[in-house]
């Protein structure tokens, strides 16, 4: 499985899916003009990767500061895939990075935690001013 890297743009996040070391990172913002076009290839790659791993510890680093509602739906599809694998085959640690003052992202993360209980949800408060 090849690693997947996409550079950050004004409307889409940096995607750094290191399947080889089981560490997947999303950084930035997600409000692409067409969310499905942007996320489908990522979901497809993730699904392909998950079918080939078993008994692994997978680390997800979620470092998004903004996503619109269309992107949210796509992110939920992603968490759904991860939650399924966490129920059956792999351990999934979801590192939920948020600025210490960013209650919006934290609150969203808590919702994700409620909805996808098989994920090991770990909020990580950071100071983006010094990051």
């Amino acid at each position: 499985m090849n690693d997947l890297y996409l550079a950050r743009t004004a409307h889409s996040p940096e995607v750094d899916f290191r399947f080889s070391s089981h560490e997947l990172t999303l950084t930035g913002e997600a409000y692409p003009e067409n969310a499905a076009d942007f996320f489908q290839p990522l979901l497809s790659a993730l699904e392909g990767y998950l079918r080939g791993v078993d008994g692994q510890e997978i680390h997800i680093n979620f470092r998004l500061t903004y996503f619109n509602s269309a992107a949210t739906k796509m992110l939920y599809s992603m968490f759904e895939l991860l939650n399924e694998t966490a129920c059956t085959s792999n351990r999934v640690i979801l590192n939920w990075f948020h600025d210490e003052e960013d209650d919006t992202i934290l609150e969203f993360g808590e919702g994700v935690h409620d909805d996808f209980s098989a994920l090991d949800f770990r909020p990580v408060a950071v100071d983006l001013a010094t990051a």
């Binding site: 979901l43 699904e47 600025d99 003052e101 209650d103 919006t104 992202i105 100071d127």
Partner: protein, 425 residues
């Protein structure tokens, strides 16, 4: 040749405008030379025709090269060159690989080719041929830039005219709600600011004998598609309230949910059909929409408010209170594919006291990126603003809140439509 008058007369629509111009529109007649002609003859011709920038070389009707005036003149001007090359074939100084295009090539394809060919082609121009590849004439980079600029401006104008008028329609749809708000309330404000002139945010108010129904709606998307959705939602809501169910906002949400799902065909469990066990291997059917709305529905009567929310909280502030009460709605949006057809929302009853303030906002304010850290505005900041300004008349509160919002946004781009309403009991 390009005629400004012909351009100005164009009345083509958006889809026609691209096809109205092709490479032939740029055709200029130019003198040509044949390979048997000498450099002396070229020199003669160029000195007689100062308007000629490049001179096509044509053999048996086929273009074989392009002589650029400056390159030719520089070349021939060097010592002894004239003596050496003067009587020789003019192909010595010609560019053997100029850009040659068919007269039917679209302006867009031509632009890409010219840009791809580098600065040379913009300067020298290109040769235009008929279907058989026979020489017709030349086009210049200057004319191409002119026509591309014109097409761009024309397309912008058509799109903007259309959006401006869409904005007129969307605003007039809101008029009835504004009038009913004015009739039902004394101290209130509404701030509606679509990101792209029209948008997916919408407010709704309808006054009845025994109270009023008020809603703030955030439909999927923004811009024109968002605005389409608001009109669908507004007409459904109007229809639903004709029946006697205004005191049951949760029931109204459930009815909206069913109506939207049926109208948009969003009734499947999941719009992504599993194909050989892999859900995301193929693109989903592009025609399948997944649209809906996040919203707060409120029924307000003399001493109580009944609220039902779809991912949209209600903010209240009692007279003299120093803390905002945030009442969260249910966590499912209305109409979306992943919201079940029979999903039920919950009504929450809030006792109203004299002087109590009630606010609703879509996520446009809370989620806007800005500040020194480029993070979301956030609920906490929003609630603090409500408390700080709570003693002011509502219209003045709006000014303060929006000012703080704009300052926070700073140089960041607006992310979404912004709507905010507030009223005092």
């Amino acid at each position: 040749m390009l005629s400004p008058a012909a351009i100005a007369e164009s009345r083509a629509g958006l889809s026609e405008i691209e096809s109205e111009y092709i490479a032939r529109s740029l055709l200029r007649e130019a003198p040509t030379v044949a390979p048997h002609q000498t450099n002396d003859e070229v020199m003669q011709l160029l000195s007689e025709r100062s308007d000629v920038v490049s001179l096509p070389v044509v053999e048996n009707g086929l273009p074989i090269g392009l002589i650029n005036r400056n390159i030719f003149m520089d070349g021939i001007a060097k010592p002894f060159r004239r003596e050496l090359f003067g009587r020789k074939s003019c192909i010595a100084f010609m560019d053997k690989q100029p850009l040659v295009v068919s007269e039917h090539m679209s302006i867009q394809e031509l632009s890409f080719k010219v840009v791809g060919a580098g600065g040379k082609t913009l300067n020298d121009g290109f040769v235009i041929t008929d279907d058989a590849g026979l020489y017709l004439g030349v086009g210049t980079g200057e004319d191409l830039v002119k026509i591309v600029t014109h097409l761009q401006a024309e397309k912008n104008r058509l799109v903007m005219e259309s959006i401006n008028y869409a904005s007129v329609i969307q605003k007039s749809f809101l008029r009835a709600s504004r009038e009913d708000m004015a009739a039902a309330l004394h101290d209130y404000f509404i701030h509606w600011e679509p990101r792209d002139k029209v948008g997916g945010d919408y407010y709704f108010c309808k006054k009845f004998e025994d109270g009023f129904f008020i809603a703030l709606i955030d439909c999927t998307g923004h811009g024109v598609p968002g605005a389409f959705m608001t009109l669908i939602m507004a007409s459904f809501l109007d229809h639903i309230l004709l029946e006697d169910n205004r005191r049951d906002p949760a029931g109204a949400l459930a009815m909206m949910n069913r109506k939207v799902k049926i109208a948009l065909g969003q009734i499947g469990e999941h719009n992504i059909v599993p194909i050989e066990g892999q859900r995301f291997a193929h693109s989903p059917d592009k025609e399948q929409s997944d649209d809906g709305m996040d919203t707060a529905f409120c029924w307000v009567e003399s001493c109580k408010l009944i609220y039902a929310g779809a991912k949209t909280p209600l903010f209240t502030l009692e007279n003299g209170a120093t803390e905002v009460t945030v009442i969260e709605g249910d966590r499912k949006g209305v109409g979306y594919v992943d919201t079940p057809m029979d999903y039920t929302w919950t009504n929450k009853e809030i006792a109203l006291s004299k002087g109590m303030r009630v606010y609703l906002t879509t996520d446009g304010i809370i989620d806007q990126i800005g500040g020194t850290k480029d993070i979301a505005f956030g609920k906490k900041r929003f609630c603090n603003l409500l408390v700080e300004n709570s003693e002011l008349p509502l219209v003045a509160q709006k000014e303060r809140i929006m000012q703080a919002f704009y300052t926070y946004q700073g140089k960041q781009r607006r992310r979404d439509d912004v709507s905010l309403l507030g009223f005092r009991i």
